[in-house]
């Protein structure tokens, strides 16, 4: 597996650049993905999405469907895309340290 380095921290990533171990997740990882995703400023709402994804993943071992993300955060789909332009299944999951969702994604 490849290693990426950002802000002095090393991260093991999978073939698609998703974090290999959620335990390695931290602010440096978030900053790394932020640049990749072209997000200029992280807001409280970005964090709300990230926290929700992590909580769900820790309980269920898989990323939630967007409907659940929207229900828990109260955000409309359009707004979720404003926060994460590459989409909830890609950019948001990546930033939250979740693995790349399996299947046709």
């Amino acid at each position: 597996m490849a290693i990426v380095e950002h802000m002095g921290k090393k991260f093991e990533v999978d073939e698609d650049g998703f974090l290999a171990n959620l335990d390695d997740w931290g602010p440096e990882w978030v900053d790394y993905v932020k640049t990749q995703e072209g997000i200029t400023e992280l807001t409280e709402d970005h964090w709300k999405v990230i926290n929700m994804l992590q909580d769900y993943f820790k309980k269920n071992g898989i990323a939630p469907m967007v409907r659940i993300l929207s229900k828990v955060t109260g955000f409309k789909l359009k707004y979720i895309y404003e926060l994460f332009p590459s989409g909830p299944g890609k950019g948001a999951c990546k930033m939250a340290g979740l693995p790349k969702p399996t299947g046709c994604v």
């Binding site: 597996m1 898989i62 469907m65 967007v66 409907r67 693995p99 399996t102």
Partner: protein, 468 residues
């Protein structure tokens, strides 16, 4: 017989098994166990006896090793004409060997078969169109996948995909309730802009029953909303089934033959229950192949057809444009060089090449549509078909294979690629991420929504008044 806890010959049938496999991120333990998985040669011989009929045996025997298939394969071209990438070599050294040895092969051979069947072939069937004998390597590789799956040699993600189908009757963990709720949610979110928008569920006798790809409710629900809006504008009488709504088949990609049958059975059951005049599938290539082209045979339907006519999304779009159900505002047509990705599964393997060109004639300003070279039935696979997009261990092989499509797109000079197939869409997205071509890519639905003329009575009241 050393069967792994995660990697073994049994398909996933319970949520617990599925969770355990998912927890093994990227399949670390799974692939380690695979190295020790014993081949049940007796069972393999029995499977061959029961399923490897004269067609495949003849194809393997009559192959003259002429090499005419070589240049047809994008993997061969992208890998500096590596002889081990010649389709004839790939099939002879894998399935050919299994058949010649009547299943007496070892673990190393089965792992080699897996690497070739999933990592060096996307079952795009392009080679078959150049073989002087008409040998269909795509069919043979699909068959090889079935043999590999039956022995437990299948990429981790596709073992998961097959399990998802068996548990959820969908390639992702989306239940019928989740699907219906997502449809309702999408309608709610659109009410301001599209008052009265509905997604009728389980309506009996509708003109159209619409089936989609599980990724839509799971990760991209806007796709469902867009489909609904276009039906709304076109004034269609349509519905979605609460069960049997996922048209895709990772079971087909996985070579899980029983799973293939179960999946299509669920969709056909919905058709028989809801009695629509026609069924329409989303902008997906492999779903069409699984449900419309191959599905009838999996279920032993004598006429080789689904219970009622089953259209690909492009067929409906072309028809709606032709009949004026959808009218395009000429001022909003695409006015930049634009190209089209022909999906192997419904262009080469189902003949819809003129249907997609007809759509282009409506949505692209004359003079701006640029064909890829080659195109239509001779077009190259996007590079990520057959499940390859979703398989981590072959990621580098896929990315090398992308070079052929990348160069095709580059040569058109277009910065917009229309890709009415999820797999192609994903491949082109990933290609852009890797090779930075500076291109955009799109399904048809969002493009249509930008240029379709909205009838006055469907506009929100204030907007309609403002225009007056």
């Amino acid at each position: 017989m050393p069967e792994g806890t995660l990697c073994n010959k049994n398909p996933i049938t319970t949520k617990e098994q599925l969770d355990a496999l998912l927890a093994d991120k990227t399949g670390k333990i799974y692939y380690e166990e695979m190295k020790h998985l014993e081949v049940d040669t007796e069972k393999l011989a029995e499977t061959l006896q029961a399923t490897c009929k004269s067609r495949i045996r003849t194809w393997l025997e009559i192959c003259a090793h002429c090499g005419l298939c070589a240049d047809s394969c994008f993997f061969y071209l992208a890998n500096q004409k590596d002889p081990t990438q010649v389709p004839a070599y790939k099939i002879q050294s894998t399935l050919g060997e299994i058949v010649r040895k009547n299943g007496q092969v070892d673990n190393a051979h089965m792992r080699y078969c897996m690497d070739v069947a999933w990592g060096k072939c996307t079952c795009c069937n392009r080679c078959g169109t150049f073989c002087p004998y008409g040998i269909d390597m795509g069919v043979m590789f699909s068959y090889l996948r079935g043999l590999c799956f039956s022995q437990g040699f299948v990429p981790w993600e596709l073992k998961i995909g097959s399990g998802m189908h068996r548990i959820f009757r969908a390639q992702m963990d989306v239940t019928p309730e989740d699907f219906v709720e997502t449809c309702e949610w999408m309608c709610e979110e659109q009410q301001e802009e599209w008052p009265g928008l509905e997604i009728p569920v389980d309506k009996v006798g509708a003109d159209i029953l619409y089936t989609c790809n599980a990724r839509e409710p799971k990760h991209y629900p806007e796709d469902i909303a867009e489909a609904a809006i276009l039906f709304h504008i076109a004034g269609e009488d349509w519905t979605v089934p609460s069960e049997g709504w996922d048209q895709t088949s990772l079971t087909m990609f996985a070579g899980d033959w029983e799973g293939c049958r179960l999946q299509v059975e669920g969709i056909y059951r919905a058709i028989e229950k809801l009695k629509p005049k026609r069924v329409l599938g989303t902008e997906c290539g492999h779903a069409h192949r699984a449900t419309v082209i191959e599905g009838p045979y999996w279920l032993g339907r004598e006429d080789g057809r689904p219970p009622v006519p089953y259209l690909h999304y492009t067929e409906w779009v072309a028809e709606a444009l032709r009949t004026g159900k959808l009218k395009i505002d000429p001022a909003k047509r695409i006015k930049e060089p634009v190209t089209l990705q022909d999906s192997c599964n419904y262009i080469r393997n189902y003949g819809l090449k003129e249907v997609t060109r007809e759509i282009m004639s409506y949505i692209v300003e004359p003079g701006y549509f640029v064909e890829m070279e080659p195109c239509k039935e001779y077009n190259f696979c996007c590079g990520g078909g057959g499940g390859l997009n979703g398989i981590g261990i072959y990621r580098q092989w896929r990315n090398i294979g992308f070079k052929v499509k990348r160069d095709q797109i580059k040569a058109t000079g277009a910065k917009l690629v229309i890709a009415p197939c999820h797999n192609c869409w994903d491949a082109i997205r990933d290609m852009e991420e890797i090779y930075e071509l500076g291109i955009r890519w799109s399904f048809l639905k969002p493009l249509l929504l930008k240029m379709v003329i909205v009838p006055e009575h469907l506009k929100p009241k204030e907007e309609a008044e403002e225009e007056e």
